[in-house]
Symmetry: C2
Subunit: 457 residues, 2 copies
């Protein structure tokens, strides 16, 4: 019987375990997870805090026991992978509950250790009112504080996807929220002009924004329920009940690094298309591994569950001895924040320029649902393309609805290296409740064609 060990019990690890078992029932699979929960969806944490989701169990797809009985893989929860010896094909683990150390022998091993939140280098981060939001226990602790009526003022440091969704959740719970962001705009994945639409929506909904600002220090106060933050460059102190840190993530690669497994230039574990690392018998998948971006042609880190699940599934095939590849991603993401859907795929303008493309962009607004209907709203769609050959490079869309339908189509175009000309011909769904006969995607392509024609002159 072949023994498979998987380190990490979330999107990538659990997809791999489920897939490998499906391909080959006879595999002996053990999943090692440092936390108490496996197979949960941290993306749902804002809904737990807003109260839309009552029970944390709603986020957990399987308990360790359920996964074992339904999917046939052993799960060791609250167990740390402390030492990997690929030469001996052994993994040393430490059970945090029992304190017991154990050695697992394997034939193939998958590293699915995910990411860890970045933390700013400031004093006072160890205060009990400071949280990152990478693990379910963080979300539960924040929810409990809010439920207990102890949170009136919140400081959110950084503004990524989960951070913005948290802003909304905390506003719904009646909190005041100050968002401090080092750069001049929220959601760095967007071009500045698009990100300003999001900033406006945040302000309209009562979020206070301090852009171009950082927190220099955190300090406890006499009131144990409050914490003071030094805002810079203003050099003013703000006292709040809760500090949330959301300044990005980095791949969790310590175990791999200590085992001599090669990291890529991005800092994540280097993998082949088949998710093999530099060391025989060891695979990596998910947010600890590099993901090839089909548009930039570069290997990147990713923090997305979509990429992790796809890599995990392909790794599961390979663990089970079947050939499968992860074909790469195009960087698609979406979020809903207050009344807006915000989506993007591919490269934004500055990313495209820095990758050496002759990038140009057009921005249009067009109706989602025919203009004559009372429910008609507009979507703003920005499309980045290479003006030397018309190749599509990326897209960003914002609007009250209809964003996914456009971003998903453009993501499919990016996978296929399509041009503006080709995308203009797409036969997209039209009925008055959904668009006009020319979909916003077509309107944007026509605008890009005019730019291309103008440049050609």
């Amino acid at each position: 019987v072949e023994r498979i060990v998987i380190v990490g019990g979330n999107a990538a690890g659990m997809s791999a375990a489920a897939r490998a078992k499906r391909v080959n029932r006879d595999l002996d699979i053990t999943v090692v997870e440092s936390g108490a929960h496996v197979a949960y969806s941290i993306c749902g944490a804002p809904f737990l805090i807003s109260g839309e989701l009552r029970e944390a169990s709603g986020l957990v797809h399987f308990t360790p026991e359920e996964f074992q009985s339904q999917r046939g893989s052993r799960v060791l929860a609250e167990t740390e992978a402390v030492h990997l010896q690929p030469g001996l094909k052994r993994l040393e683990v430490l059970c945090r509950r029992s304190g017991r150390r154990d050695v697992l022998a394997y034939d193939r091993l998958l590293l699915a250790t995910g990411y860890k939140p970045r933390r700013p280098r400031i004093q006072g981060l160890d205060h009990p009112l400071v949280f990152t939001l990478a693990r379910l226990p963080d979300a539960l602790a924040i929810r409990d504080l809010v439920d207990a009526g102890q949170v009136r003022d919140v400081l959110l440091v950084g503004g990524g996807y989960i951070g913005l969704e948290l802003c909304e959740a905390l506003r719904r719970r009646g909190c005041r929220v100050l968002l401090v962001e080092e750069s001049e705009s929220v959601l760095g994945t967007l071009d500045r002009d698009m990100s300003e639409i999001v900033a406006r929506e945040l302000r309209l909904n009562g979020i206070e924004l301090a852009l171009g600002s950082t927190v220099g220090e955190l300090r406890k106060t006499q009131d144990a329920g409050r914490i003071a933050a030094l805002l810079q460059p203003a050099e003013s102190w703000s006292t709040v009940n809760l500090v949330l840190i959301d300044i990005g993530v980095e791949p969790n690669v310590e175990l791999a690094e200590r085992a001599g497994i090669r990291l890529g230039r991005s800092g994540a574990i280097e993998v082949t298309e088949r998710l093999e690392t530099s060391v025989f018998g060891v695979y990596a998948a998910g947010n600890c591994a590099e993901a090839f971006n089909l548009v930039s042609g570069r290997c990147e880190t990713s923090c997305l569950a979509t990429v992790a699940s796809k890599q995990g599934r392909a790794a599961g095939d390979n663990l089970a001895g079947r050939l499968a590849r992860f074909g790469g991603h195009v960087g698609t993401s979406i979020l809903r924040v207050f009344g807006l859907e915000v989506g993007s795929t591919g490269l934004n303008t500055s990313q495209a320029l820095s990758c050496g493309f002759r990038a140009d962009a057009v921005k249009i607004s067009a109706p989602v649902a025919a203009a004559y209907l009372p429910e008609s709203t507009q979507v703003t769609l920005k499309v980045v393309f290479d003006r030397s050959n018309g190749r599509l490079l990326g897209a960003q869309a914002i609007g009250p609805r209809g964003v996914a339908a456009r971003i998903n189509v453009l993501a499919a175009c990016l996978h296929q290296r399509q041009t503006v000309e080709e995308a203009a011909q797409l036969d997209l769904a039209y009925a008055p409740s959904f668009s006009q006969a020319w979909d916003p995607v077509h309107v944007a392509m026509h605008a890009a064609q005019r730019v291309m024609a103008g440049r050609a002159r």
Copy 2:
């Protein structure tokens, strides 16, 4: 100055006129339209009847005068194109208002005469309470009858897209609706099992369905506000206040046929990729012309505004002397009917089989919005593929929301002749409000992969 004459003032004709003028301002363009309105959206008619849209003017993008002043093309409304002499490059027209005949000389002419509704071969069709729904005046007349309180019972013969939207509009206005459909299912573009979901929704909302039935005869009654219909095979008479005919459309090709222009096997005007007809200097676009289906590889008739607009735009380029092609369509359509979105693209199972593909299909249901959210709903997605090579051939999706996002992606896949394997890798947008990390598209592809693997054994 080059003289362009365009016959037909709707989707294709007006797109062509606007485009040609944009490319070359110096063109002398005349649009000949038999109706009083140009550039209107008949797809919006159900909303006019439901009362959601108050003014018919909302459906009309331009009056003839506005089009002339804003887009620089002359519009002759209420003018019939009676005789085309391509050898002489002349078109004889008759103004219905003045009764005057005129001859327009042209350098290039575009036929954009659209479709006409099919009519059953039965007695009594000339009764004033019988309507088709292809022209704005029909919609206005129906609306006026409903507004006047004269419509309690409606008989709808046939159930296409506009027919089903009309069912909903008339229910909203308090009418009783009986839908009589010759085949055993509504919406023939769908596979039978998918169409049954639509039929259930119609019944749930109080529409009475008589499938496998036809109307054998219509007869006037003593009450001028009522008309009797003989239903077959039941051989029972039903008396209603309004009869709507929606049994399909056919291309309007009389003018072309009389001028010796070649028709294709579909019955529509045969055109090249550049929209040229068999006769020099004469182009055709829109629902009177054939449209190449990229999946079936066949030239078809189309009744969709999306195809008409794209052909019209490409024709406009060619009329203005620029090279442009219509690259073909994949048969994408969508509608909202009561609480469901219903979309399809490509071929259904029986179409795929009749085209000679080794067609197989999978049907899945998957959440749109994470299952843990209260607003989570399911979309049912059926995907047709060729089991010999995995090529995608078509898709049908039904659900309360999220249908367009999936159908549009799959339409883009069909344009690119993608396989199940390739579509499974697509990097689609995920956030809890929109899907699960595996989008319904991925779930369907995984199901198809399992079918393929099973067949290979």
